[in-house]
């Protein structure tokens, strides 16, 4: 609860801070302070301390899983603002508004992590998405940014329509916005499942619109263009925190509903997973721009995160949290470096190791983590995903297919490492890289390695 209230309030505070001061750096510091307050508020929530006591009429359900994810999302945003705050200031004139929008996105994220009815799911998705449409178009003199924003908005609106349709159908079938209402009743009477056509159709529509939000194939087409067109700082935010929140909502939604769909559900999901892995990984191989490569790689990573849905056990739930941590850290790190580069192509990174050894080293750690090499957090993230499916049993073939795609992903991640270390060139950066930025990157790399050796640090914080 605290996170929802505080993030909404802080968003308003950020909007007004733009009137009080024109000093951009000061605004960034206010945002950082706000994020720390938000993080504290959310952590206190876990201990039962509330800002306001509000009866949500069980439309929201604050359990550990969601609250812990909030902490992850807020902490990741904090790291993101600390690393890339300077670059957010450079996007345009309305710095305070950007931060306000980021807080509103976090408000949507906190609703998504705790909804217990379809109505709240819809609200959360909308509150999260609308600020993003604006952020995508933040670079308003850039045609590509405008195009991306419009495209994102139209596609997003369309998928929202599909989601509403799905919710309406489910409401028609069950008479409730509740999650998995029918499942509970059947479990109590012990009778065989009786599901109506309406409910199944509604669930499928929900599934489609959620696939759209997390950019799973074949609903991924907006992703590369939007990620590429949006200002790079905001791409970083969209590809990490927002995407992770989409997955948490996805897992929460279908955790309760899978039994309604029966065995066909697994087949459908397997199809989506393989399509996502195939399109993400194979297309990423052929990219010339690292920014676009990362867009496709984020689709590929989504394919792995979908394993959490497929496994559907406790390992999967733990795993998706670890995955969001690992993936967010690595992606924020690599984007922070990318933003500093003049040239976004692979050749633009040639010889970076000579010029900026710290940048090259930290992005190598991030890339190794994305590729899932042991000793980095990314390994255990993938490990949990694979383990949850192996544990669920019967789908070893899917795991083996996924493993081959993971090997393909090494190809494009390592191309960046090759450019930085093994090729000669003059990697040009925008201005001088500050010492503070380097320290921040080293801390991110250190966290990735730390969680790579002791993943229980993350998971114990979940159970504590």
């Amino acid at each position: 609860m605290n996170a929802i209230i505080l993030s909404a309030l802080l968003g308003v505070v950020m909007m007004f801070s733009g009137i009080v001061t024109k000093n951009r750096t000061a605004i960034t510091y206010i945002a950082i302070a706000g994020l720390i307050v938000l993080l504290l508020g959310n952590v206190l929530n876990t201990y039962g301390v509330f800002v306001l006591h509000i009866d949500t009429h069980s439309m929201l359900n604050f359990e550990k899983f969601g609250l812990f994810f909030n902490s992850i999302a807020i902490a990741a945003t904090l790291i993101y603002v600390v690393l890339s705050g300077r670059d957010i200031e450079k996007v345009g004139v309305n710095v305070a508004e950007y931060y306000a929008l980021i807080f509103f996105v976090l408000c949507g994220v906190s609703i998504l992590s705790s909804f217990s009815g379809l109505l709240m799911l819809f609200l959360g998705i909308e509150i999260m998405s609308i600020p993003l449409y604006i952020l995508t178009g933040a670079d308003k003199r850039n045609l590509k940014s405008n195009e991306a924003s419009l495209k994102y908005f139209l596609m997003g609106a369309f998928s929202t329509g599909i989601m509403l349709m799905g919710i309406a159908l489910i409401y028609g079938a069950t008479g409730s916005f509740g999650l998995g209402g029918t499942v509970r009743i059947t479990a109590a009477t012990g009778l065989p499942m009786h599901t109506s056509f309406l409910e199944v159709a509604g669930l499928l529509l929900l599934f489609v619109s959620m696939c759209f939000k997390v950019s799973a194939a074949p609903f991924h087409f907006w992703t590369p263009d939007v990620y590429d067109g949006a200002p790079s700082v905001f791409t970083s935010f969209m590809a990490t925190i927002v995407k992770a929140a989409g997955f948490i909502a996805f897992v929460r939604l279908f955790d309760a509903h899978t039994e309604v769909l029966g065995p066909t559900w697994k087949l459908l999901l397997a199809f989506v997973i393989i399509a996502t892995l195939l399109i993400g990984n194979v297309t990423a191989v052929f990219q010339q721009s690292i920014k676009r490569m990362l867009a496709y790689s984020s689709i590929a990573q989504a394919g792995f995160m979908l394993f959490a849905l497929y496994g559907g056990n406790d390992l999967a739930k733990e795993g998706i949290l670890l995955y969001t941590v690992a993936y967010s850290l690595a992606t924020i790190g690599i984007f922070a470096v990318l933003i500093k580069m003049k040239d976004y192509t692979f050749d633009g990174f040639n010889g970076l190791a000579q010029k900026e050894p710290v940048l090259a080293f930290t992005s190598t750690i991030c890339l190794l983590s994305l590729a899932g090499i042991p000793l980095t957090a990314g390994f255990f993230a993938k490990y949990y995903m694979l383990a949850s499916v192996v544990d669920a049993g019967g789908s070893l073939w899917l795991v083996i297919v996924a493993v081959f795609f993971a090997a393909i992903s090494v190809y494009y991640y390592f191309r960046v490492i090759q450019a930085m270390y093994f090729k000669e060139g003059e990697a040009a950066t925008n201005g001088v890289i500050s010492q503070g930025f380097k320290t921040g990157l080293l801390i991110v790399a250190g966290l990735i390695l730390l969680f790579g050796v002791f993943p229980s640090l993350v998971l114990n914080a979940f159970y504590f």
Binding site: L368, I373, P374, L375, Y383, L386, A387, V390, D391, G393, L396, V399, I400, V403, F404, A406, A407, V410, Y411, F414, Q418, Y421, F422, K423, F454, P455, S456, L459
Partner: protein, 475 residues
């Protein structure tokens, strides 16, 4: 405690080496570290009890940081510990750009190798398996030949696919252990159905076969050996390929006893095919490094075939030969490196008459080459004899087919000696001089090892006796 030291010393000293700017200091530091590791390894060999180590790592996952030095593990640790100082001395006069990073990565790969040979927990094993690979990838890509980037990338992706398949296999076995644990002992007690066993067996075997490499998974090997800086090639072909053989004996044979007996025929046929195939290609080579690379495939093929015969003599032969092959092949690589550094070429067609100019090199090279052919009184003879004996007990025709590769080995090895050392001097060798003192010392040490282990191999057999018995007991 000793096993931890074997991993920690190279790991920590390696990390420090990254920050040593002065080339000479980096070299000395790395050499010092390698010598200390050797001393620790020697104490481990002579200690009476089986040294082990156990610490909590990931309690939720059922994985503990467990190390165990059985006979085979100790022998391979000894091989690793002996090889690194020798390699460092042999390449002491070579100049590598960014010397500090070069030696740092070398030491890190040593830590990874030690970890693989000592791990008694599947997840720990997997970690070290990868940890050994990554420094080697960077070593080859940064200091290798012209085509290094493409070639080592192929090598990396090849082995990475193998590792991931193995990971799937490890996970599968893990979920079938009674106590949900990655411990070696729990893995040994797993009972799988015949169908599951033979499927998971291949997931593991492909990973190990790529590493060894066994025909038809060998295509990365000659290119990578050729393009890598020779110091790294020594590590890869002297020690890293033993990871594959070690892993089969430590993990594959005991966990999947039925599948490994069932698939033995296929694997032995593949290995023997690979032996003959590689030997035939070796005859046509014009490059020292490529020739040694192919000859190495042939030797590894014999070891792989002998492992799957499941009899005592065969396994004993594999044990001895793992050590001996490491010694011999490192010797050959050192010679290849010296010739390349001195004369700027590795091609036989551009060499000749080197014996007149460098008699010491000639004598030592001949000793190494004779060991490569497995002549009696050299160390390889003992190992190969035992392995052929084992193969003979398994199937006469396999032994005959494998025997052909011995004849072929003599053909290409003697051909190499003749072309490099004898005949008239040519333009490249006209100005050649004797090899320097440090290389002489290393080659002499290796030559002594060749002869001593050839005449008196009993200590090696005694050292690895417990592993051989343990493996055979499971059948």
């Amino acid at each position: 405690m000793t096993p931890v030291l074997l991993i920690l010393i190279p790991l920590l000293t390696g990390l420090v080496t990254f920050f040593i700017k002065e080339p000479k200091a980096a070299k000395n530091w790395a050499l010092l570290s390698a010598v200390i590791t050797l001393a620790v390894a020697l104490t481990a060999i002579f200690s009476k009890e089986q040294p082990g180590f156990d610490a909590t790592w990931l309690p939720d996952l059922g994985s503990r940081f467990t190390l165990l030095a059985d006979g085979m593990g100790r022998m391979l640790c000894l091989l690793t510990a002996v090889s690194f100082p020798l390699i460092f001395v042999a390449v002491y006069k070579n100049d590598y750009k960014h010397t500090g990073s070069f030696y740092a990565l070398m030491l890190l790969s040593q830590a990874g190798l030690m970890g693989v040979f000592l791990a008694a927990d599947a997840l720990v094993f997997y970690f070290f398996w990868e940890l050994a690979l990554i420094p080697v990838y960077f070593l080859c890509s940064l200091w290798g030949g012209e085509k290094r980037i493409a070639v080592t990338f192929k090598f990396f992706i090849y082995t990475f696919i193998g590792s991931l398949l193995m990971l799937v296999g490890i996970l599968f076995v893990y979920f079938h252990t009674k106590d949900h644990s990655f411990a070696l002992q729990s893995f040994y007690q797993v009972v799988l159905s015949a169908k599951q066993e033979s499927f998971i067996f291949w997931l593991f075997f492909i990973a190990f076969a790529i590493k060894m490499p066994i025909f038809p998974f060998h295509t990365w090997q000659p290119d990578t050996y050729e393009q890598s800086p020779t110091a790294t090639t020594m590590v890869m072909s002297g020690i890293m390929v033993k990871m594959g053989i070690f892993a089969v004996i430590r993990w594959l044979l005991p966990i999947f006893p039925h599948a490994s007996a069932e698939c033995a025929n296929v694997i032995i046929i593949l290995s023997v095919t690979g032996m003959i195939y590689a030997s035939l290609i070796a005859i046509r080579q014009d490059d020292i490094k490529r020739l040694v690379a192919y000859s190495s495939i042939a030797h590894i093929g014999l070891m792989c075939a002998a492992m799957f015969t499941h009899n005592k003599t065969g396994l004993e032969g594999v044990m001895i030969q793992m050590f001996n092959h490491g010694v011999n092949v490192i010797g050959l690589w050192i010679v290849a490196d010296v010739i390349e550094q001195k004369l700027g070429t590795r091609k036989f067609s551009e060499l000749g008459g080197l014996a007149q100019k460098a008699p010491v090199l000639a004598i030592l090279l001949v000793v190494m080459c004779l060991a490569n052919i497995a002549l009696p009184l050299t160390n390889s003879f003992v190992g190969e004899f035992l392995m052929f004996n084992g193969l003979f007990q398994y199937n006469i025709w396999m032994a005959v087919a494998a025997g052909i590769s011995i004849i072929l080995a003599a053909v290409y090895t003697l051909n190499m000696i003749q072309k490099i050392l004898y005949g008239n001097t040519v333009a490249a060798t006209e100005q050649a001089t004797e090899i320097s003192g440090n290389v002489q010392v290393v080659l002499v040490i290796l030559a002594v090892l060749v002869i001593v282990l050839g005449v008196y191999p009993q200590p090696m057999i005694d050292l690895t006796k417990d592993t051989v018995n343990a493996v055979l007991m499971n059948h």
